[in-house]
Symmetry: C2
Subunit: 203 residues, 2 copies
DNA sequence: CGATGTAACTTAACAGTGTTAAGAATGGGG
DNA sequence: CCCCATTCTTAACACTGTTAAGTTACATCG
């Protein structure tokens, strides 16, 4: 079997190999399909070996997600750096957020749609927060900029940011989770949500 | 003669007992905690007995959800009947939808948040649709009324309805699924989302 | 060189899950 | 009275995450 043939091959980057295998399965088939035994089979080790490198399935999955959500942070930051008015920056950030969700549906799902004990632990919000959380923080800053610039009605920043988050999370999660629903053309719906929200908050 | 009828009545009784037990567990602990064996223990029958009354766990759960979502339909219909301008009716319908989600979090979750094969079957949208689907249809009608009355900007009804759905689903699902997140005061956030969306769509 | 300790890995098992196949019991109809 | 259908149960399969204990390989030390 693969077990003895495998022995000669790598044994240092095993942790990375586990991570790679897990990501591959997770991206292709999602959370439900990601099992420790499947990962083990893929890397040709016994299932329990994984526990020598990761505390449990949650930690493995969180690490897989952290990788991806770093890219969300990057995308939002990029939106900021391309310049433009605060409102333009905010708009770009929102589109980047939605785009991220649509191109990483399974990541988005476990992190934002049904996060119950899958990646986020209770009290995860209390401290520095996950990468996804940090991306939301950036949006908050962007919102504050818009208020300061007068392009968005003055009011509680947190309330405004969370209102925006609700809208874009809503469209993102609906598109991801209800694939069979007869949505109108995707791009048009996204634009409608973003523009409606921005207009609703404008001065 | 009443014998066979009595049998049938008793059979219906057991079916209802299963449904009651399932609902009780589901409402209290949610989908993950709802297991066939737990239901069986509660009604004091063997687990396999349930399969004589329900095809599988999905069908059992769907029936539990159908019960509840009928009440959502009722709530939206009530909002309609209390009268007021089309926009007032729409507003009331949106608040009723969010209220329903918050008071039936587990139902809302399996039906709208992570519906993958749990209650909704693929192609469920194609036909008459589930009760939750019917509630959404009512909202669409309400939207059409607002457009006709000129209180909402003219445009594609479907796009507008789905935009609204995205927003209110967004706030509902965030509040349900991210209990630990430091949201602003719940009522204020809901109002902000609804009013922002309405204003964003107004003429 | 040989013993020893340890790190890496595996096997076996536990307590769950949904679900199916096959066997047991109960009681009415011929 | 016996048969048979309906109803229910027992046993099992194929999974799941996870832990405890056992094995093996190897580096270090006396």
């Amino acid at each position: 079997m693969g077990i003895t043939e495998r022995r000669e091959r790598e044994k240092e980057n095993l942790r990375q190999e586990i991570l790679d295998a897990a990501r591959e399965i997770f991206v292709a088939e999602g959370y439900e399909a990601l099992s420790m035994r499947k990962v083990a089979e893929k890397i040709e080790y016994s299932p329990t070996t994984i526990y020598l490198y990761f505390k449990d399935k949650t930690e493995l999955l969180r690490e897989v997600c952290e990788e991806a959500f770093t890219r969300l942070g990057d995308a939002v930051r990029d939106a900021k750096e391309t310049g433009g008015s605060p409102l333009e920056v905010l708009r770009k950030g929102l589109y980047a957020y939605i785009d991220f969700g649509l191109s990483h549906p399974h990541h988005y799902e476990v992190a934002f749609v049904s996060p119950t004990d899958k990646v986020m632990k209770p009290n995860d919000y209390q401290y520095e927060g996950s990468a996804g959380q940090r991306a939301f923080e950036m949006l908050s800053v962007s919102v504050a900029d818009c208020i300061a610039a007068g392009s968005i009605r003055s009011g509680d920043v947190a309330t405004t940011a969370q209102t925006i988050w609700a809208s874009i999370h809503g469209v993102t999660s609906l598109l991801i989770m209800h694939e069979d629903f007869p949505f109108v053309e995707q791009k048009a719906l996204i634009e409608s949500v973003v523009e409606t929200t921005v207009k609703g908050l404008s001065t």
